[in-house]
Every structure is written in C-alpha cells, then in structure tokens.
C-alpha cells in the first residue's frame, strides 16, 4: 500500500516531466511547422482565396512584367515571347522624349494636352460637385431633394458610348446645301447667333476642351456630390446655431462651419484628383475624336490616346510611323513615363496634404 503510494507520487513527477517536455517540444517546433498547422486548419479559406490570387497574378501583376518590353525590341517573326526578345535599353524612351522625329513633338503635345485638360477639369469640375452638395443640403423638403438627387446621379450609369453618341448627334453641324439640319444643341447655338450654321463643334480643336469638361460635369457632378453631401450632413446642427448666435450670416456659416467641417473629405478628394491628373479617360476621347477630322487631336490627344495610337491599337497612327520591331518598346515606354509621373503626383499630393492638414490617404 505504502509502496503503491510512493510509486504514484513518482508517476506524478514523471507526468510533470513529460508535460514539460511536450511544451518544450511544441516550442521547439519550427515556425514553418506551426504555419503549416494553421494553414491546414484554415484550408477552406485558402481555397476561397485561390481564384482572386490567380486573377490578380495573371491580369494585374503579369502586365507589370510585360513592362520590360519597353526596353526590348519585339519582332513577332523572330519570337513571340516578350522575355526572349533582345534588349535595347533606354533607346525608346530617350528617342521619344529627346528625339528629332515627329513622334517626339506629338508626345510632348499629348503631355501638354493631358495637363491642360486636367487643370481645366480641376478648376471647373472639382468645385461644382461641392457647390451642388451645398445646394442640396439647403433643400429641406425631402421629397424634392431626393428626386433631384437621384435624377442628377443618373448620367453616371450611362455608358461612355451613349454619352459620346449623344454629343455626336446633338452637336452635329448642319449642311445647308444638302438640306441637313444641325444637331439640337448646335441648332440652339446657331439660333442664338453664337456659331454659324456649318460649324462642326466636335471637330474643332478650339471647342474640344470645353465640350469635354462640360459633358464631364453633366455626367459626374451629381454623383460626385454624394460624398460631399454626406460630409455636410455629418456636421452637427448646433455648430450652425452657435455661429448664428455670433451673428454669422449664411456665407459666414458656409465659410466658418461647413467648409472646415468637410475639410478632410475635400482634402482626400483633392489628392485623388491630383493623383489622377495624368489619367484623363481615353475611352471618351477616342470616342469623341474617332469620326472627326484629324486636326482636333491638336487639343484632344492626351497621353493615353497617344499611347494607343503609338501602339497601333486604336485610332490613327498618322505621323507615328515606327520600325515595326520598336512599336511595343515605344508605346510601353510612353506608358511607363505616364505611370511614374502619376505615382509621383499621388505621393507628392499626399505628402503636401499630410504636412498642411494632417489628412492623408496613406
């Protein structure tokens, strides 16, 4: 009996030792093994991640590898493989930026046009959704407000093809000799005496930017106001009452209560806008200019459309004749230039905004 008890105590000690050893072993197990165990327990979730990872690898990351073609010559007769093509270094980018041929002129023209259109967009397109949100917030009748709001969001859901088709149809010039009436907006401008009957508004480099920006505003101002409207609604009504007690009129209230209250939203939207300066939508521009005479490109050709023309993918490549094996190198170099400046702009705007206002995207 006594002996048995003793043996029992020993076995407790043994048990304790075994336990410690087990814990020690557990800790000794390599990190990889523990990862493997977690991975094994989470396998259904990783299976769910397979589609997205495959998609992003193939269609978002693999194109980044394709960027190397900007530094290679590519001749489909020799090899169809981007990665096996011979290197040419920075030749294409250098030629494009500092060359003496017509493409260099057109490249810088596209660069200037991109900036000009974006700046006009910033100047007119950026404030209008803010003003619209201010106006919406002033309308206290819920029915009227939601009807007008929903109505003004609608164009955002209409395709670019439809919008540019409407521009094409409504801005068409008339032809007096063929007895063809101008499009309805063109007709209205003729009636006002603003333009002669046969003016082709869409094909005229002098009008292109205004039409582009105005139609952008028509299309996006209502939808763009949503985010500002939400910011205004989040401002506490007591702030306004306090301002009123201090004798603030409506303009003072907007200046000292509303605008500071929506400052973070304004900053973020401005950063996004500045970051996107180089990404003027190519789809709309190619659709607007495709059927027009070539010289509208004087003001309409932006970097992205220039890249598409350079790469012989869409639009006329007039004035952009390249040796066939360098087409890919040139267009991709232009793309790379575009991406890098765009990234620089995003980071720069973000940096400035963090310095100035403590608000930043990242």
């Amino acid at each position: 009996m006594n002996l048995e008890k003793e043996r029992n105590i020993i076995s407790y000690k043994e048990l304790e030792a075994l336990r410690e050893e087990a814990i020690f072993n557990e800790m000794e197990k390599s990190k990889v093994q523990r990862y493997w165990l977690t991975l094994k327990s989470q396998w259904p979730i990783f299976v769910m991640l397979i589609p997205v990872i495959v998609f992003f690898l193939l269609f978002r990351y693999r194109p980044i590898l394709e960027l190397v073609i900007g530094f290679k010559s590519f001749d489909a007769n020799i090899t169809n493989n981007t990665f096996a093509s011979p290197w040419i270094g920075f030749h294409a980018l250098q030629e494009l930026m500092f060359g003496t041929k017509e493409y260099t002129v057109l490249f810088w023209r596209a660069f200037r046009n991109t900036f000009t259109i974006s700046m006009y967009g910033l100047l007119f397109g950026f404030p209008i959704p803010i003003i619209l949100a201010l106006l919406f917030s002033e309308i206290k009748s819920d029915g009227f407000r939601s009807i007008t709001q929903v109505l003004t969001y609608l164009p955002k859901f209409i395709s670019t093809v439809v919008i540019t088709s409407l521009l094409f149809l409504m801005l068409r010039p008339g032809q007096a000799d063929a007895n063809i009436q101008p499009g309805v907006i063109n007709g209205f401008l003729v009636w006002l005496g603003a333009v002669p009957n046969e003016t082709n508004l869409l094909g005229n480099p002098a009008y292109f930017r205004s039409i582009f920006i105005l139609s952008d505003i028509w299309e996006g101002a209502g939808y763009g106001s949503i985010v500002y409207f939400a910011a205004i609604m989040a401002i506490s009504p007591t702030s306004y009452e306090a301002a009123k007690i201090d004798g603030a009129n409506k303009l003072d209230q907007i200046r000292y209560v509303t605008l500071p209250g929506m400052a973070p939203t304004l900053t973020i939207m401005l950063i996004l806008r500045i970051g996107g300066i180089l990404s003027v939508g190519y789809e709309k521009i190619i659709l607007m200019t495709e059927n027009e005479v070539h010289w509208v490109l004087d003001t309409a050709d932006v970097l992205s459309t220039f890249i598409l023309r350079l790469g012989n993918v869409y639009g006329s490549s007039a004035g952009l004749s390249l040796p066939p094996d360098l087409v890919r190198a040139f267009s991709t170099s232009a793309d790379l230039f575009n991406s890098f400046i765009a990234m620089f702009l995003v980071l720069g705007a973000n940096f400035i905004s963090r310095r100035v206002s403590d608000t930043s995207l990242f």
Partner: protein, 289 residues
C-alpha cells in the same frame, strides 16, 4: 419656427433655383433622345423636334423589331451583352465574395500580405499597352476570355470585406458550435446578412459589363461576339453619312436615337430600385489596413 435672416432666405431660393436648373439640364438629353427616336422623318429633317416628339410614328423603333437589316445585328449584340453581363457578374461576384470573406477573417494567416497584394493594384497598374500585350499573350480574345479576364476590382473586394467584418462574431461562433463549415457560414450567415453591400457591388459589376466598350472592341475580333456598345457605336456613326438614308421611311438620326433608347432602357428600369444601394456603397468603401 426658426428665424431665418435675409442671407439665409436668399441662399435657400438660390439653392432651389439652381438645383432645379441642374436637374432639368440632366433630364433634357434623355427626353430629347426619346422624342427624337419616335418622331417622324419629316419632323427630324426639318429640325422641328426640340423637346416633345413631333408627329410621333415610332418607325425607327419599329425598324429594329421588323426589319432584319437593322434588327439582326442589334439583337445579336444585345444577346451578347446579356451574356457578358450575366456570366461576367457571376464570375466577378464569386471571386470577390470569396476574397472579401477570406480577408474578413481576423485570424487568417498572411492576412496583411494578402490584403496588400490586392490593395497594391489600386495604386499601381502597369498601364494600357502592357495590359493589352498581356491579354494578347494569354489569348483572352473570345467570349469567355472577356468574362474571366476582366471585372474583379480591388475596391469592391475591400468594400465587401469591410462589410463582412462588421457582422457580429457571436452568430458565427454559434453556427460553428452547430458544426457549420466555412462555406455554410458564408452562404447561410454572411451573404444573407450583407444583402445591401452585395447588391451595391453587383450593381457596379453589372453596370461596367453592360457599358463595357473599349476592351471588347480591341480584343474581340469576331463581329458576331461584339456587345451592344460596339454595335451602338457603329449605328450612330452611320447616321452621320449624309449620302445614305434617303431610302428609309425614318430619319437615320431617329434610328440612332432609337438604338440609344433601346440600350439604356434596362438601366432606366432597374435604376429606381437600385439607386438607394450605391449611395451607401460610396460611403462604406473606405480603405483601411
């Protein structure tokens, strides 16, 4: 009744006037398009249609239903667009829901790395030409290529993830005790509880499929597989030829406006039901990590 001072009253009047004007300016092209699509050839040629329909005879609209010459390519492209929209949205939603759900798991291994892998594509993309060459290299140039090669957006995945993260853990734990596996958790708890977020994302995806033009145009070489937007584009461009069109009982412009009406109708019909969702979508889409 709160007292308003003069400046407030002026501003209020201004707000009503300007908002009304803006709403009318938004509405006008839609009304004009409908009017122009149903007005008679005489009225269109005389430039008499300015707002309301003039001598409506619906001939241009009817042409798409009665004349094979106009109807065949429009309805074929319509069918193609329905195909792209239906299967494309299912594909995009499937991938995005799985991804959003997986990333919403707090204990997911490599969670930060995977999230970064996805969010990075929002800040940096290779650009147009490399993307184009990539699609060429992977031979994404038929109907199915358009379905699986496009339409998964990092933004939408993050939007779904944020919504899933907001769902209470307790319900999930109770279901786990009852022996539910991950797929059952997703389909019987998370999806039913995030109807509005899912509706928003579905709307975004479906719209981008319905409205897609550029990549379809440059990647799909077979004209029989072209979607509505590509065909709509050529119908409108043809209406610009002043030489043709005298033989038809309707104005070619009316035909172009009619094609626009037919292509936009589905959006206008579902818009009132879905508009409440996207305003929400804009606000919950903040990126956090």
């Amino acid at each position: 009744m709160k007292r308003l001072d003069t400046s407030e009253i002026i501003f209020k009047i201004l707000a009503y006037v300007l908002v009304t004007l803006f709403a009318l300016a938004t509405l006008y092209p839609f009304i004009y398009t409908i009017s122009a699509s149903i007005s008679s050839k005489n009225a269109m040629d005389a430039g008499a249609v300015v707002f309301w329909p003039v001598e409506p005879d619906f001939l241009a609209i009817k042409a798409f239903f009665q004349e094979p010459e106009q109807g065949v390519r429009l309805w074929r492209s319509y069918t193609n667009t329905l195909f792209y929209t239906f299967f494309g949205t299912i594909f995009s939603m499937g991938v995005s829901i799985f991804a959003g759900y997986a990333l919403s798991k707090s204990k997911l291994l490599f969670k930060r790395q995977i999230a970064f892998f996805i969010i990075f594509t929002m800040w940096f993309s290779a650009g147009l030409m490399p993307t184009y060459y990539n699609y060429q290299a992977l031979l994404v140039s038929n109907r199915w290529g358009i379905i699986y090669g496009f339409g998964v957006q990092a933004f939408n995945i993050i939007l779904l993830r944020n919504y899933f993260q907001g769902i209470s853990q307790e319900i999930e734990e109770a279901a786990v005790v009852d022996g539910a596996n991950e797929l059952q958790l997703l389909t019987s708890i998370y999806i039913p509880m995030s109807k509005s977020a899912i509706a928003t994302v579905t709307l975004f995806y479906a719209l981008s499929r319905w409205n897609g033009y550029f990549w379809n145009r440059i990647l799909v070489s077979n004209a029989n597989e072209h979607p509505l937007q590509v065909i709509l584009r050529s119908i409108v461009a043809e209406s610009g030829d002043s030489e043709t069109g005298f033989d038809y009982p309707y104005s070619l412009r009316s035909l172009a406006y009619a094609a626009i009406v037919l292509s936009v109708i589905p959006i206008i019909i579902i818009y009132p039901y879905l508009q409440k969702y996207f305003a929400k979508g804009v606000n919950v889409g903040g990126v956090k990590e």
